[in-house]
Symmetry: D2
Subunit: 332 residues, 4 copies
C-alpha cells in the first residue's frame, strides 16, 4: 500500500483523490491546500489528513509519493521540496510556464533521483494507445502526416485565462505536442502557428487566443497539423489521425451511449462527452495505476521530466510563431 500526499484540492485534485481511493494498492494520506476549507473537505471524503503546510505532509515518513495539482506557476518549488524529501513525484502538466525555472528544477530533481512523472494522461487513453501501438508496430509504415483535433467545449474562467496567457498552447495543445512526440518517437524541427479570438468580449474578456492552427515539421520528415478551439459546443472533441505509406489510423471521439435514434429528420446519436474528466476518465485511472506500479517496482515512470520540458518548449515556440506570424525553428 503506497501512501500519497496530494497537493492542490482544486479542479483535477478530486479526480486523482478518487482514483487513489479506488486503487487496491494506493491510499490518499494527506491533502495539502492553502485553502484550508477546500483541503479539509477533500481529505474528509477520503479519510485523509488535511494541512496547509506542505512540509508537515512531506515529513510523514509513510508518505511515499506526491501528486501535484496546483496551478502551474507553483509546481517547481513543490517538486523541489518533494524531491528533497525523497518522495516519488507525479506532477500535472505543464511543469511550469517559464523554461528557466523548469531547467533549474530539472537540475535539482536530477540530483535526487526520485521517480518523476508528468501527467500527460492522454497517453493512457485506450484508443490513443491502440493508435500509438499500431504506428510503432509499423502498421501504416512510415508516418507521413499526423492530424490532431483538440477542442474544448468552453474557455476557462477569466482569472484562469489571465494567469496563463496563450493557454491554448501551454494548457491545451501541450497535450497534443506530447502526443506527437510520443506517437512518432520523433522531435519537431519547426513550428508555424496562427491564432484567432473567435469568442466575444464577454466570453473572452482578455482577448487571449481561443482558436489555433499549427503546422509542425518533424526531424524525420512527418508533417503534423494540430487545430484547437475553446468553443466546441458539441462536446470535447479529441481526434488523432495518422497517415502513412501503408494506410491511415483514426482515434475517434467518445459518446456516453451507442443509442441510435431514427426519425423523420435523420439519425441521431449521442453528443460527444462534454467534460474532459468524463472523456479521459479511463486514462486518468490508468496513468495513476502506471505510476503506482513504477513506484512499487522502482522503475522510471513512463513520462519523464524531459518529456514535460520538451512539450513546453514546443508550446513556447508555438506562441512565438503565433506572435510573429513566422515559422520558428526548434533546436534541442
Amino acid at each position: 500500500m503506497i501512501d500519497f500526499c496530494l497537493v492542490g484540492a482544486g479542479f483535477i485534485g478530486p479526480v486523482h483523490a478518487a482514483n487513489l481511493s479506488a486503487h487496491p494498492r494506493a491510499r490518499l494520506a494527506w491533502v495539502v491546500d492553502l485553502n484550508v476549507a477546500a483541503g479539509m473537505a477533500l481529505a474528509a471524503q477520503h479519510d485523509a489528513h488535511a494541512t496547509s503546510d506542505l512540509g508537515e505532509a512531506l515529513a510523514d515518513p509513510n508518505v511515499r509519493a506526491v501528486i501535484i495539482c496546483t496551478p502551474p506557476r507553483t509546481h517547481t518549488p513543490i517538486i523541489e521540496a518533494a524531491a528533497r524529501a525523497g518522495k516519488a513525484i507525479f506532477c500535472e502538466k505543464p511543469i511550469d510556464l517559464d523554461m528557466t525555472k523548469v531547467d533549474a528544477c530539472g537540475v535539482a530533481l536530477a540530483q535526487t533521483r526520485v521517480p518523476f512523472c508528468v501527467g500527460f494522461n492522454r497517453r493512457f487513453d485506450p484508443t490513443h494507445r491502440a493508435l500509438h501501438d499500431a504506428i510503432r508496430a509499423g502498421e501504416i509504415g512510415r508516418p507521413e502526416m499526423l492530424v490532431l483535433s483538440s477542442r474544448d467545449p468552453e474557455i476557462s474562467p477569466p482569472d484562469y485565462v489571465a494567469a496563463m496567457p496563450y493557454g491554448i498552447f501551454y494548457d491545451t495543445m501541450i497535450h497534443d505536442f506530447d502526443m506527437v512526440r510520443w506517437l512518432l518517437a520523433d522531435e519537431p524541427v519547426e513550428i508555424y502557428a496562427r491564432t484567432a479570438c473567435m469568442l466575444n468580449d464577454k466570453e473572452n474578456p482578455h482577448r487571449d487566443p481561443d482558436t489555433a492552427m499549427v503546422v509542425l515539421r518533424m526531424a524525420g520528415g512527418t508533417l503534423v497539423h494540430v487545430n484547437s478551439s475553446f468553443r466546441a459546443v458539441y462536446g470535447y472533441d479529441q481526434r488523432i489521425e495518422a497517415f502513412g505509406e501503408k494506410g491511415m489510423l483514426i482515434s475517434g471521439n467518445q459518446q456516453a451511449t451507442t443509442l441510435e435514434r431514427h426519425g423523420k429528420h435523420g439519425i441521431r446519436r449521442d453528443p460527444l462527452l462534454y467534460f474532459f474528466i468524463d472523456r479521459y476518465a479511463e486514462s486518468y485511472r490508468r496513468e495513476l495505476d502506471a505510476f503506482v506500479q513504477a513506484v512499487e517496482a522502482g522503475t522510471a515512470p513512463a513520462i519523464g521530466f524531459d518529456d514535460g520540458r520538451r512539450a513546453l518548449m514546443i508550446a513556447e515556440a508555438g506562441v512565438q510563431s503565433a506572435k510573429s506570424g513566422m515559422p520558428v525553428t526548434l533546436t534541442n
Copy 2:
C-alpha cells in the same frame, strides 16, 4: 439495339422507361396502357409509340422484349400473349396472386421457351449482392440465422390495398422470401407468421395487416426471421443480416449524403432514403441491364419463372399461418 414494349404506364413503368432510354443498347418502342392518356404521356417522353391494344404492339416485328408493369392479377394473360408472340419477357413481381393461374401460365410459357425474368430487383442491389457473394464464397461458413428488416415508410392507397389483401406478404415480403432463397440457395420447409394492424382506421381503412413477423425454417437448417411494416416514418428500412459459424454480414441502409452534423443535442446524419425508387435506383438499372444482356446473348435471365412461383408459394403459406396462428409446412 433491342426494342422494348412496356405494358403499364403506372407506378413503376416510368422507372423502367427511363432506364431503357438511358441504356446504350435498348430502346423503348411501345407503351401499352388501357389508360390512353397515361400511355401517351409516357410514350411521348421517350419518343415511343402508344397504344391501348397489346396486340398492336406485339405485332411489331422489331419488338424483341416486353416489360410487364401492370397490376398483378393482369400479368398471366399478358405473359401468355407475349410468349405466343415470341417476345422475351420481363415481368414485375408477383407473377400473380393465384397459384392455379401461375401454374397454368408456367405450362404455357414452358412450351414457348421465350426468355422470362421476374423483377426481384433487390438481387441487383450492390450491397445485398456483396452479402450474397460473401455467403456463397463461404465467408461466414454455414449460415445459421438470417434476419431481414423490410419496412416501407407508408401503406399503399386504400384501393391498392383492397385489390391485394395481405399485400404485406404478396407485395412486400415476397421480395424477402426471394432474397432468402437466393442468399441461402435453399428452400424453406416451414413458416410461422404473426401480423397486426397498427395503423389507425383512417390510414388503414381495410384493416389489412400492416405489420408482420415471420420465422422460416430452411431445409438446410438455417433459421430465418423477417419483419415488415408499412409505417417506417424514418424512411425505407431495408437491412439483411446473415449470421454463420465464422461471422456475421450486415447489408445496411442507404442515405442521400454522408454529412454528419455535430451539435449540442447530438450527432445527426441524413434520414434513410424514403422512396423505394431512390433506394433501389441502382438495382433497377442493373436488373434491366442484366435482362438486356441475357436477351442479347440468348441465355436464360437470372431470375426465372420458378423463382417467381416459389416466392409466391411462401407468401401464400405465410398468409395461411397468419390466419390460423399455426406454423405451416411447406412442400415442393
Copy 3:
C-alpha cells in the same frame, strides 16, 4: 457501510466481490462456498471471512445483505435461509429452473418482507437504459415491434449445459424476456420458438439447442423477435431495436476502442467486446449500486421476485413451444 455475505465464489462471484470492494459504502464481509479453497481465495483478496457454512455467515449480525451467485438449482434454499435471517437479498438469475420451487420460495419470502432483487443486470446498461427511457418517454410513440439479438461467443462447458438443458432459454434469453417486459411495460400472451443445434458434437456433446428464434405477442399488441446463438465468433452481440409509430431506436454493440484502420482491403474497427463481463461491466457496477441504495433507503429494489418469476415463466413456455413446434399461450 453495508456488510455483505456473498454465496458462491465461482464465475460471477468475483465480479460482484470486486464491485463491492470498490463501492464507497459497501464491504464484502463473508464469502460462503462449499469449495473451501475457492471461498478462501476470493475472501483473501478482499479481506473477508470465508466459510463453507452459510449459517455461520448469516449469524453475523453485521451482515445486512446477501448476494447469491451459486448454480440456479441451489438458489431457493439459500434465499429462504437468508430471508429467515432477515437479510436483504440480491439473487442471480434465474431464481430457479422449477416453477413449483420458485412459487414456494416466493411465498416464504413474502412472509419475511426482506428486500429482494434479481440480477437482471442488463437493465442497468447505459445504452439499454437510454433506449428504455426513450420508449417510456414516448419518443417512438406506441411500440410496434421489438427485435433483440442476444448472442454469446461460446457455449458453456458440457457439465454446465448438462445441468441446465435448454439453457439458451433459461440462462440467456431469460435476460431478453426480462428486457422485453421492462422495455414495453407489458406482458406476453403468446410465444413461438424454434431451435437448432448448429455446433458440432464435440462443441455441443449434449445436443442441447445452441441457436434459437422466438416470436412473442404482447398483450398490448407489440410483436417481438428474439434471436440467440452460442456461436457469435465475432464477439458478444447484444442489440435491441425498438420500432414504433414515430421512429426507431437501436441500442448497439460495444467495442474496446474507437480506432479505425484504413487499408487497401477496407476499414477495420475493433471486434465487439468478447466477454459478457467486459460488455456489461458498467451494468454490474450500477445494479449493485442501485441495490446498495435501496437497502440504505429501505425501499424496494428495482427488480423484484415477481420479475424473476415472470421471466422464468416465459422461458418455460418458450421451451415448451420449441419442443412441440407449436405456439404456446401465456397466462398469468
Copy 4:
C-alpha cells in the same frame, strides 16, 4: 438538344463524353484531338465526328458548346478560339498554370461575353453541397475553422508530373482552394505551405512534392487547413470539416457498398472508392447538367472565369510559400 464539341479525348474526356450521351438534352457532336486515333475511338463510341482540327469543329454552326479537357497549358488558346466562335465554354481546371496567360485570356473572353464555366466538379458533390448549404444557412453560425483532407491514392505518371511541377497545388489542392472560397464565401489573405517528398525515387522520379500541409487565413478570420498526399493507399480520401460557433459539419468519404463484415479480428467495411471518377461520378454528371441548364437558359454558369483565376492565384502563392518556407500574403 445542345450539340457539344469535346476537345481532348484523354483522361477525363471520356467521362464527359459519356455524361453528354446520357443527358436527355445534350449530344456529343465532335471530338477534337491531335491524336487522331484517340479522337476517332471516342467519337465512334458516341456517334460523333472526329477531327484533329479545332477550327473545323468550331465552324459547325450546330455546335453551341465546347468542353475543354486537354492539358492545362493548352487551355487558353482553345478558350480564346471557342470564345471567338461564340461557343459556350466548359473548361477543366486549372485554366492555365501561368497567371499572365490567364489574365490575357480573361480579357479576351470578357469581350465575347460567351458563357464560361470552370470544372470544379466537387462543388456538385451532394454531400459537399449539403455541407455548403448548411454553412450558408447559418447552421454552424460563424465558421471558425475549416479542415480539408484531399488525398489521391497514387501519383500521376512521371511525364504528367514533369509537365506540371507542384501539381499537388495546381492540380489537386486547387480544388480545395476553390472549395474554401465557395464554402466560406470569403477570400484568403495569407497562405503558409509545407511540402515533402515521401514517395521513393521510382514512384516519384522528379522529386516533385507528393505531400503537403497548408494553413490559410481568410479575410473574415476563419482559419483553414488543407492536407494532401499522392499516396492514400486506402483509397481516394476526400473529407471536409467545418467548425463554427454553433457546431461542426463533416462531409465524409464514400464507399461502394454499406456491407459490414463481423469476424474475430474486427468489423470490416469496404475501402473508400479508389478512383476520383468513381468518387465524383455524381458530381461530374451534375456539373454538366448545370452547365447545360445555364446554356439553355442563357444564364451565367455557376463557376466563372474569376473563380478559376482566384483558385490558381492561391495555388501559386502556396507554391511560393512552400519554396520559401515563409507565409505569403495574398492580395486581390
